[in-house]
């Protein structure tokens, strides 16, 4: 069955195929009825309003319907019940399931018990393949993916979007520049794995050193709760802040991405600059998720 659980399950040709499909859908006109009569179940065991709305919108654009529960309903429905049982039941109601769950590996488990395809919309600190696909899609709108230099900035330790993106970019021969505050570095096991796979990974203490080399600057949220007090947070946040002055030192084709919502990582003055692509990025969630839905419900 055609599940989408982890970006690691996809090879470069299948990622390309999904992105091509998304581009076709994006160019319009929408086929409108491709999934007419199909039902998508949205099971969100933790809140993620944007991801959920984006899947619902994508399903509606393809002419299908969504049924679902929000996180409160989902947890009361499953009270005492295993996820395996919930999935067995719900897979009898729908043609595909989109799952968001706080436990890592939940989507993999769901795929083992579901009678219909499962799409992972985030499992704990684990995988969130639709985010990675829309990140790649957004980069590809500006430049070909192969052989580019990408800076990953911010919390690379806990930020799962950065982990999945780093892995996906490695399939395209990217050079990765990793820039993070002390204590929030990309885990050594991930760096080792990337390097073993032949990816050039360069570590920088300072974003201003890396900026002239970059084609893409991918900024992730630095969460306050990772710091002992707010003054140490503000100190780090300000030294990692992306400003128009910083970007002025970058290449002409440099683009800035952020999975949103942002806190203080990007100066609002950047929003008006041509490099700012983070709002396009969130809009790109629709065609990318449409392509995913079509892949699992052919």
């Amino acid at each position: 069955m055609n599940h989408i659980i982890s970006i690691r399950d996809l090879d470069r040709p299948s990622i390309d195929k999904l992105l091509d499909q998304a581009a076709k859908l994006d160019a319009g006109p929408h086929p409108g009825k491709a999934l007419s009569g199909k039902i998508l179940a949205l099971l969100f065991f933790e809140p993620s309003t944007r991801t959920r709305m984006s899947f619902e919108a994508a399903m509606a654009r393809l002419g299908g319907c969504s049924i679902g529960l929000d996180s409160v309903e989902a947890s009361s429905m499953s009270k005492g019940e295993t996820l395996a049982d919930t999935i067995r039941v719900v897979s009898g109601y729908a043609d595909a399931i989109v799952l968001r769950h706080p436990k890592e590996g939940a989507a993999r488990l769901a795929s083992e018990f579901s009678a219909v395809p499962v799409i992972n919309a985030g499992d704990g600190a684990g995988q969130h393949p639709s985010q990675t696909l829309l990140d790649l899609y957004t980069i590809r709108q500006s430049m070909p993916l192969s052989g580019i230099s990408v800076g990953l900035l911010g919390d690379l330790r806990y930020g799962r979007t950065a982990h999945s993106l780093a892995y996906a970019l490695s399939l395209y021969g990217a050079t990765l520049h990793i820039i993070s505050p002390k204590g929030l570095e990309l885990p050594g096991s991930i760096v080792d794995e990337l390097r073993r796979g032949g990816t050039d990974v360069r570590e920088h203490a300072d974003v201003s050193r890396a900026i002239p080399d970059l084609d893409v600057l991918y900024v992730t949220r630095i969460q306050r709760e990772r710091f002992p007090d707010s003054s140490s947070y503000f100190q780090v946040a300000s030294s990692y802040r992306v400003t128009p002055e910083l970007l002025a030192r970058g290449k002409e084709r440099l683009v800035v991405l952020h999975p949103l919502p942002r806190l203080d990582e990007i100066d609002p003055r950047v929003d008006r600059l041509p490099q700012a692509r983070y709002f396009d990025q969130s809009r790109n969630g629709i065609p990318v998720r449409m392509a995913m839905l079509l892949k699992v419900m052919p």
């Binding site: 590996g105 488990l109 499992d123």
Partner: protein, 154 residues
């Protein structure tokens, strides 16, 4: 099995069962654990630990009466005692002798150290790890175990 002066009475011959020899010194109890033998099981077992051995320095030996280990049990042993050899004994003779081979997939053998992993909940699944050159990889949450595998045995 031939009697060996160095092993003495500790590993006297058995009529039927399994003798696991050349276990890495000190790992005998982990070997028992990995093949599911606990204080509650009824098998008759002898264990010799830190026996001098020219081949591996110090070795442990485990003898299990009236039980022939299955292939997947044998392969689990490889995780903690890669040099072990397994002798299946029938009627006091070595019926079959085999080395251990590290399996590619471990199901229900190792507990995932990630507390956020779905395999550490009440779901009706067994933990599942693939065996990579650098260690074990949880197929649910992607966590890796690179050292002290014995301490993660279920």
């Amino acid at each position: 099995m031939k009697r060996d002066a160095r092993d003495g009475l500790l590993i006297s011959p058995i009529e039927n069962g399994t003798v696991i020899d050349h276990i890495t010194g000190g790992e005998a109890l982990n070997v028992l654990k990995i093949i599911g033998i606990t204080g509650a099981t009824t098998e008759s077992i002898s264990v010799a630990t830190n026996v001098k051995s020219g081949k591996v320095g110090k070795k442990d030996i485990v003898k299990i009466v009236n039980r022939e280990l299955r292939k997947e049990e044998v392969d689990r042993i490889a995780l903690i005692a890669p040099k072990a050899s397994i002798n299946i004994i029938r009627n006091y003779e070595v019926f079959e002798k085999k080395g251990v081979e590290i399996p590619r997939l471990l199901t229900g053998v190792v507990r995932c150290p990630n507390p956020g992993c779905i395999s550490n909940t009440n779901e009706p699944i067994l933990s599942r790890f693939e065996v990579l050159p650098e260690g074990l990889h949880c197929l649910y949450c992607d966590q890796k175990i690179t050292r002290d595998i014995a301490s993660h045995l279920i």
